[in-house]
């Protein structure tokens, strides 16, 4: 099967001198016996922007939670900076957490603190810097995301786009080496979304940060990605440079199931292998099997 072969090449081992900062090996995660991640492999090289895409419920958010150490694999391993997350003590994991930042889908600002206090929190808690220095750093970080004037506002007083930018400022407070983004453009208007994309590219360009972006917004994905990974039903279909996905997107249907599935997703076509799968399935069996459950 072409699918199996694709998964083989999908692991996409980078050359040894370019040792990956993130390496996921044969990751399996089950919820109630159902595999949400089913043997996922991924390697992210230093400085690159890796976009993980996939439909709703494909497991991309679950994958992200494994990368940041808030979920643990049932099988396989997740390594950051060459260290297996599962082997770390709480203290070691916390030390590692200071080396990466996360932009959550909602921004996840602490609502009881001002924007400035939110950005300052990692600094006051994890460094010995004095208040004046922290104040300067907070201003610099907020300036980087274009929010210096919002420093004294409460999260409830700013818009969704501003919340994400403030969340980003907090994520970069400790100058992380890796930045994770969970659906950075979800729920934003096209212009704000493009601004966030620009910020992601700036941060990776100016600061040399390694970025992992989980998204299903294709315009945004193609804007920011160096390499892209396509996740479908818990399996990694393809990991390749952006150009390869670009070729699939603009090219004609190939007849190869996996490629056509990726193509449908990238183009957002209403018809194709994804829809066909939904329609066929075990519909009749589902319906008959379910009968009786409601008695």
């Amino acid at each position: 099967m072409g699918q199996a072969a694709d998964i083989e090449t999908a692991a996409g081992e980078p050359p040894p001198e370019d040792a990956p900062v993130i390496r996921v090996t044969d990751l399996v995660k089950r919820f109630d016996g159902r595999a949400v991640l089913d043997g996922v492999n991924l390697a992210v090289r230093p400085g690159e922007t890796m976009v993980v895409m996939g439909g709703s419920g494909c497991g991309k958010s679950t994958l992200l939670r494994h990368l940041i150490g808030s979920m643990w694999p049932d099988e396989g391993r997740v390594e950051l900076f060459g260290r297996d997350l599962a082997s770390l003590s709480d203290e070691q994991l916390d030390a590692l957490r200071k080396r990466f930042g996360i932009l959550f889908q909602s921004g996840a600002l602490f609502n009881s603190m001002t924007v400035g206090q939110n950005v300052a929190l990692p600094l006051t808690e994890h460094t010995d810097l004095d208040a004046d220095t922290i104040d300067i750093i907070v201003r610099i970080k907020l300036e980087l995301v274009g929010l210096r004037e919002a420093m004294d506002l409460m999260p409830a007083e700013i818009s969704g786009g501003m919340k994400k930018r403030a969340g980003l400022a907090r994520a970069i407070a400790l100058d992380p080496e890796i930045l994770f983004y969970d659906e950075p453009s979800a729920g934003l208007d096209p212009v704000t979304s493009a601004e966030i994309d620009q910020l992601i590219m700036d941060l990776s360009g100016k600061l040399g940060v390694t970025s992992v972006v989980v998204t299903h917004e294709m315009d945004s994905a193609f804007r920011i990605a160096d390499r892209m990974a396509m996740l479908d039903k818990g399996r990694m279909l393809k990991i390749a440079p952006r150009e390869a996905f670009e070729t699939i997107r603009i090219g004609p249907a190939t007849g190869d199931h996996t490629t056509d599935l990726i193509r449908q997703f990238l183009r957002g076509d209403p018809e194709g292998p994804i829809t066909a799968r939904r329609l066929s399935g075990d519909y009749a069996e589902d319906i008959l099997g379910a009968a009786g459950d409601w008695k």
Binding site: S70, I102, L109, F110, N111, L121, E125, A290, G292, K295
Partner: protein, 271 residues
Amino acid sequence: MPPADRSRNPIRALGAAALAGFRYAGGMSLLLCQTLRWTTLGLFSRRARFSGRALAEQVVRVGLRSVSIVVVVQLFIGVILALQMTPPLEPWGQVDKVANIIGVAGFRMLGPIITAIVLSGFAGASIAAELGTMVVAEEIEALEATALDPVRFLVVPRVLATFGVTILLAALADLMIALGGYLTSILIGAVPVGYWRRMQEQLEYRDFVTGLIQAGVFGLLISVIACYEGLRVRGGAEGVGRATTMTVVYSIVAIIAAACVFTMIFYVYEL
């Protein structure tokens, strides 16, 4: 297998309920241990210190806002006690013993327990709702991702504040019950003179102290249940609503059960 089968098997249902019960008790105990650990660490290590500002905020929110309610409720309790106890004492010519009874009932049990029940609705529900909302808004995950322990950062100030405030409010409650009883006794002419003297004669230091010890334990129970329920919220606004309800229900059950255990211990050791 259709889910209906599972729920209809009584042994399985019982087993599942027992497992859930153990998991709940285990989770709560773990949270309590972590809270004690972070509190101790916070006292001795600068790295693990908890913020005085956060603690003060919680004291204001749990304590100051509950004062008026506690005062009103406990005055009512004093009135009720006086009115309920006077008629049965009358035939025995013991009406002036109302002061003694109010003293014992109020200081030993009703002051602490009614205060705790008021606080479970007031502070417990609001703590659970607040933490639950933070879970839904990914704020807890954000804290963990920033290498900040939610127990140290959120649970410790809430538990310490509720613990201290419940004790202080219970002391206030004792006085209010006594006052309610006093005013009523004067009004209905039950104990025209010597109410306070009788109460003083009756009450011993230990009546006051055992009451406050219980209040402290009630405060711990309320806050740990509220934090546990809040932090384990799943599934959006509905989950937050469920957590608040369960906090109040479990808190009240836990408070009364603890009061029962305390009373047995005090009875056996004649405290």
